[in-house]
């Protein structure tokens, strides 16, 4: 009943890379936000794996704070998307390129 630490980190890094690719390359604001969520989730997996590796609860507590920050970030970001949609009529990130409101 053994799982190597490297396998857990491998999963976390693959997830992080996928989230980063999604956040960097997509144009839809929702997809950018989803990419950020995937990255935060991958960080959480990494923290829990490290917590297990060193038998220390600090990593798990840190994951709880990551979740809190993710929830707060999503609430504000979705409100911003609604705002942007109201101003430009689209959720394309390239359309929102003016500072003047």
């Amino acid at each position: 009943m053994t799982i190597p630490f490297s396998h857990m980190l491998f999963i976390a890094i693959l997830l992080f890379g996928m989230g980063a690719a999604c956040a960097m390359t997509r144009k839809n604001l929702f997809m950018i936000l989803i990419g950020v969520e995937i990255m935060l989730n991958a960080a959480g997996i990494g923290f829990v794996a490290a917590s297990m590796r060193w038998m220390d609860m600090n990593g798990q507590v840190m994951t709880l704070f990551v979740m809190t920050v993710a929830a707060a970030e999503v609430a504000v970001a979705l409100a911003l998307i609604v705002c942007i949609r109201r101003r430009t009529g689209s959720t394309n990130a390239d359309r929102f390129n003016l500072l003047k409101g």
Binding site: P4, F30, I38, M57, V61, V74, L78, T91
Partner: protein, 169 residues
């Protein structure tokens, strides 16, 4: 290969496949549905890695709260002209930051693994019981908890302000 190992690798495969499907969808609602599957698999991984409370919170907060919020906003704003992303043309300028980020994290993980190799972990049935977790959270981390509550309050007020329709009032 025990049953816990098997569950870990199966749920890891499910998470990776669901995430890969989620980030390539053109329809945002489909992406969110795949992401819910991904978060459920992550909850299973958390449980196997000895964090049962975090597994429950993952289901409640991520899959139950954040994704429902996503769906609510997507359906509220009724986006007809959603921008189409083409994956056919690979533009190096757009992919470079993601590749660099993934590479840096891979290098860090490699250093971490090869600096102290040969550690095959034995997953405990329960490592961080909710009692232990809560005691640590509210004894050692009471100040970050207060900061997090302030952050959530600020996010609440900010979202309320941004979502407020000004032309009605």
């Amino acid at each position: 290969m025990t049953i816990l190992n098997l569950i870990f690798y199966v749920s890891a495969a499910v998470v990776l496949c669901a995430t890969a499907l989620a980030i390539t969808r053109q329809n945002v609602v489909h992406a969110v549905c795949y992401l819910v599957i991904s978060f459920m698999g992550t909850a299973v991984i958390f449980y196997i890695l000895g964090a049962p409370l975090l597994a429950a919170l993952e289901v409640i907060i991520y899959a139950g709260g954040i994704m429902v919020l996503f769906l609510f906003v997507i359906m509220m704003i009724k986006d007809q002209q959603s921008p189409m992303d083409d994956f056919s043309s690979i533009r190096i300028k757009k992919w470079l930051p993601a590749v660099i980020l993934a590479g840096v994290s891979a290098i860090m993980a490699g250093v971490l693994v090869f600096a102290d190799p040969g550690n095959r972990l034995r997953p405990p049935a329960v490592m961080g019981t909710p009692q232990e977790f809560g005691r640590m959270l509210f004894q050692d981390y009471w100040f970050p908890v207060e900061i997090a509550s302030l952050l959530l309050l600020a996010a609440l007020i900010g979202a309320l302000y941004l979502g407020h329709r000004k032309d009605i009032s």
